[in-house]
C-alpha cells in the first residue's frame, strides 16, 4: 500500500524527522490560505501515487499567496500518468544548499533491510545509481539488532556531510529506521533530504510503501489508504481478499495461486487471446469469495469469455463450484465460460457444475484454446 507524500511526511514528523511547515489542500482557496500562513512563498505539490510528477509539471514554486492559488488551481485540474490530482501539498519553500538521497528498503537477495544514501540526491537518483554506482552508499541492517549508531555515523561520513551535521543526521537515520520498523514499511524514502542554506537538515519529500500483509497490526494505516487512486474493481477485490489487476484483453481469468494465474494469462496469450485480468482467489477460497471474484470479472464490459482454472490443493474444487453456481444465480452471466477443475475434491466440483452449461476442459492448454475460441 502506497502512502502519499503528505501522509509519509506526517509519519516522519511523528518520529522526529524535520519536515517543512505546510498542509494539504483540496481547493485553490485552501491552498491560498495555507500559503498566507506560511508568509506567501510556498511550494505547491501534486499528491498522486506515481513517480515523475515534478517532470509532469505537478510541482511549482509560488512567490505569493495569489500565485499559490493559481498554481493549485492548475495542478488540481491535472491528470498525471492517468491519475487525477485531487489534493496538493502546500509547503514552505526551503533555501536548498544541497540535496541528499536517503532511504530504507527490503533487500530480498540479502534478506535484510538496507539503508541507502547518496550525496547526489534529487530526481535523477536512478540515473546516478545506473551510471555512477560508487556514489550510492548501501548499509545492511541486522533485522534482529536494528540500526547501530556507528552505521548511521558511517553513512554520514561517506556522503561527505559536514561534521557539525553528523549528530542531526544520525538522529534522522535512527528515526527513519523506526519509521520503517514500526510501520512495517517496504520502503521509507526521503528524496531529497536537504541541507538548507542555514545548515539544517530537512526532509523535503517523503514516500512510504507499507507491507499489505502487515495491515492487520496497523489499523491506523489501513484507515488512511486512498481508495480514490485505485480502480473500483481493485478496491472491491481487496475487500474480498482477492488479488486482482485489470488488463485490457477480453478473456476474464479466475485462477487459484499467483504463479498459476500468471501462467494462465501467459498461455491465453500463447494461443492468440488477450487476458482481461490477473485474478488470484488465493489459497482455501470459499464459495462467497469465488462469487465476489466472478462479479468483479463480469463488471468489465470487455470480457467476452471467462476461463476458470482451479487446481485444488488447499482450495477445494467443490467450494469453488459452489461459488460459481451462487454467482451465476445472482449475476446471470451472458458470456461463455470454460472451466477446468483438477486436484482436491475436483470430482465433487465437476458434479456440481454438470448442469451449469459450462464448457469443460481437461488440460490447461485445452482450457486456454477453448477460452480463446469462445471469446471470438
Amino acid at each position: 500500500m502506497k502512502l502519499h507524500e503528505y501522509q509519509s511526511k506526517t509519519i516522519f514528523a511523528k518520529y522526529g524527522i524535520p519536515i517543512p511547515k505546510g498542509r494539504v489542500a483540496a481547493t485553490a482557496d485552501e491552498a491560498k490560505q495555507i500559503a498566507e500562513e506560511l508568509g506567501g512563498r510556498a511550494v505547491i505539490k501534486a499528491q498522486v501515487l506515481v513517480g515523475g510528477r515534478g517532470k509532469a509539471g505537478g510541482v511549482k514554486v509560488a512567490k505569493n499567496s495569489d500565485e499559490a492559488a493559481e498554481y493549485a488551481d492548475q495542478i488540481l485540474s491535472m491528470t498525471i500518468k492517468g491519475l487525477r490530482v485531487r489534493k496538493v501539498l502546500v509547503d514552505e519553500a526551503a533555501a536548498i544548499a544541497h540535496e541528499i538521497y536517503f532511504s530504507i528498503t527490503n533487500d530480498r537477495a540479502a534478506r535484510k533491510p538496507v539503508m541507502i544514501a547518496s550525496a547526489a540526491g534529487g530526481v535523477d537518483i536512478e540515473e546516478v545509481a545506473a551510471t555512477t554506482p560508487e556514489k550510492i552508499i548501501k548499509v545492511h541492517i541486522d533485522p534482529l539488532l536494528g540500526l547501530r549508531d556507528y552505521q548511521a555515523r558511517d553513512i554520514a561520513a561517506s556522503i561527505d556531510l559536514p561534521r557539525e551535521l553528523w549528530r542531526d543526521f544520525s538522529k534522522i537515520a535512527t528515526s527513519l529506521w523506526n519509521v520503517y520498523r514500526e510501520n512495517d514499511a517496504e520502503l521509507a524514502e526521503i528524496n531529497p533530504l536537504v541541507v538548507t542554506k542555514d545548515n539544517k537538515l530537512v526532509a523535503l519529500d517523503g514516500k512510504m510503501l507499507i507491507d499489505d500483509n502487515s495491515l492487520f497490526r496497523h489499523p491506523d494505516l489501513a484507515e488512511i489508504r486512498d481508495i480514490d487512486e485505485e480502480a473500483p474493481a481493485e478496491t472491491d477485490a481487496r475487500r474480498h481478499g482477492l488479488s486482482f489487476i485489470k488488463l485490457d484483453g477480453s478473456i476474464g481469468c479466475m485462477v487459484n495461486g499467483a504463479g498459476l494465474a500468471m501462467t494462465s494469462m501467459d498461455i491465453v496469450k500463447l494461443f492468440g487471446g488477450e487476458p482481461a485480468n490477473f485474478l488470484d482467489i488465493g489459497g482455501g477460497a470459499k464459495a462467497d469469495k469465488v462469487a465476489a471474484a466472478m462479479r468483479i470479472i463480469l463488471s468489465d464490459p470487455n470480457v467476452k469469455a471467462i476461463l476458470f482454472n482451479i487446481f485444488g490443493g488447499i482450495t477445494r474444487c467443490d467450494e469453488v463450484a459452489k461459488g460459481i453456481l451462487a454467482a451465476m444465480d445472482e449475476v446471470k452471466p451472458k458470456v461463455p465460460m470454460v472451466v477446468r477443475l483438477v486436484g482436491t475434491n475436483a470430482e465433487e466440483g465437476r458434479k456440481l457444475l454438470e448442469n451449469a452449461n459450462m464448457i469443460t476442459a481437461e488440460t490447461l492448454a485445452d482450457a486456454a484454446k477453448k477460452a480463446v475460441a469462445a471469446a471470438k
Binding site: 501515487l49 506515481v50 513517480g51 528498503t105 527490503n106 533487500d107 530480498r108 537477495a109 534478506r111 535484510k112 533491510p113 541507502i116 536512478e126 545509481a129 545506473a130 550510492i136 548501501k138 541486522d142 533485522p143 534482529l144 520498523r181 512495517d184 517496504e186 520502503l187 524514502e189 528524496n191 514516500k207 510503501l209 507491507d211 500483509n213 502487515s214 492487520f216 497490526r217 489487476i245 485462477v255 487459484n256 495461486g257 499467483a258 504463479g259 498459476l260 500468471m262 501462467t263 494469462m265 501467459d266 498461455i267 500463447l270 488465493g282 489459497g283 482455501g284 487446481f311 485444488g312 490443493g313 488447499i314 482450495t315 483438477v342 486436484g343 482436491t344 488440460t363 490447461l364 492448454a365
Partner: protein
C-alpha cells in the same frame, strides 16, 4: 530415494485443530505420512483423527513425547512467525511453513534467526513437499504425482501441481517435489534444492519452476552452469504480466532492471536449460 522427506519422516503439525490443519492432516495420513503429533496451544491432551494423533500445548512437549523430526505449520499469518521460532527453538531440523501472508519484516527476523540455528525452513507461502509413494508434508494433492526420478523445485503452489500432473499423465514420476514458496523472503531456495537433487542418486533430471520478480532464477542459472551435471528443464511464469507499478527509487537501486521473465529465460537458456513455453510442454522437453 528422495530429498528432505521420506518414509522415516516423523511429522508434527502446528495448528492441527484448525480447519486447514485438520483437513490436510487427514490427507497426509491417508497418503501414508507418519504424522506423530499435533500442536495447538490450549488443546494439549486432546486427540484428533479418531484418536490416532495426540495434540500437545507446545512444540517442545510434542517433540519430547514423540521424537518428531519435521514440522508443518498451518497457523494463521499473524501467529506463523512465532510458530517458526518455536519449532526452531525446540530443535526440529526441518520446518515447512504453508501459511501465506506473513509480513516481510517478520520473515527477515525469522530467516536471520534460523540461519544462526542451522535449521532448514521451507516456505512460507508454499505447498510443502511430496516424495511420491513415501511421504507428503503440506498440501500438494497426493494423487497427482507418481514415484520417479525427476526432482521438481518450484516457487509456485498450484503451478507446481500443474507440472506434477502433466508429468504423471506422461507416465513420468518425481523423486521429490519441493515447493519453496513465492514470498520475497523465504527459507530454502532454488540453489539449495538443485544441490540436493544433484547429490541424490535417484534423481536423474530436474524441473525448475520460477516466476517474475527477484533474482533467484538468475542465481540458479549460474549454479546450473557451473555445478550441475544433471539436465534441468524450466518454466518461468509471468511472461505477460504487466510491469509492476512501483514507487520510490530504492527498488531500482537494489535490483536494477532484473526480475522480468524474459531476463530469467535468457539466463537459464544460456546455462543450457531447456525452457518450456507452457507447463504441459515440460514432459516432452524431459524426454
Amino acid at each position: 530415494m528422495s530429498i528432505l522427506i521420506n518414509k522415516n519422516t516423523r511429522l508434527l503439525v502446528q495448528g492441527i485443530t484448525g480447519n486447514d490443519g485438520l483437513f490436510h492432516t487427514t490427507q497426509m495420513v491417508a497418503y501414508g505420512t507418519n504424522v506423530v503429533a499435533g500442536v495447538t496451544p490450549g488443546k494439549g491432551g486432546e486427540w484428533v483423527l479418531d484418536g490416532k494423533v495426540p495434540v500437545f500445548d507446545s512444540v517442545k512437549l510434542a517433540v519430547d513425547a514423540t521424537g518428531a523430526n519435521a514440522t508443518v505449520i498451518f497457523v494463521p499469518a499473524r501467529f506463523a512467525p512465532d510458530a517458526m521460532f518455536e519449532a526452531a527453538d525446540a530443535g526440529i531440523p526441518l520446518i515447512v511453513c504453508i501459511t501465506e501472508g506473513v509480513p516481510v519484516q517478520d520473515m527477515m527476523r525469522v530467516r536471520n534467526y534460523l540461519d544462526h540455528k542451522k535449521v532448514r525452513l521451507v516456505g512460507p507461502n508454499c505447498p510443502g513437499l511430496l516424495t511420491p509413494g513415501e511421504s507428503k508434508v503440506g498440501i500438494i494433492p497426493g494423487n497427482i504425482a507418481i514415484p520417479g526420478n525427476i526432482g521438481v523445485v518450484s516457487r509456485s503452489g498450484t503451478l507446481t501441481y500443474e507440472v506434477l500432473y502433466a508429468l504423471m499423465l506422461e507416465g513420468m514420476g518425481a523423486s521429490t517435489c519441493v515447493g519453496i514458496g513465492g514470498d520475497p523472503i523465504n527459507g530454502t531456495n532454488f540453489i539449495d534444492c538443485l544441490d540436493m537433487f544433484e547429490h541424490d542418486p535417484h534423481t536423474e533430471k530436474v524441473v525448475l519452476i520460477g516466476e517474475i520478480g527477484g533474482t533467484d532464477e538468475d542465481k540458479a542459472a549460474e549454479f546450473i552452469a557451473t555445478k550441475m551435471t544433471k539436465p534441468v528443464v524450466s518454466f518461468i511464469a509471468g511472461q505477460t504480466a504487466p510491469p509492476g507499478k512501483r514507487m520510490g527509487h530504492a527498488g531500482a537501486i537494489i535490483e536494477g532492471s532484473a526480475g522480468t521473465a524474459a531476463d530469467k529465460i535468457k539466463a537459464l537458456q544460456a546455462a543450457g536449460v531447456k525452457v518450456a513455453k507452457h507447463p504441459e510442454e515440460i514432459p516432452s522437453l524431459l524426454k
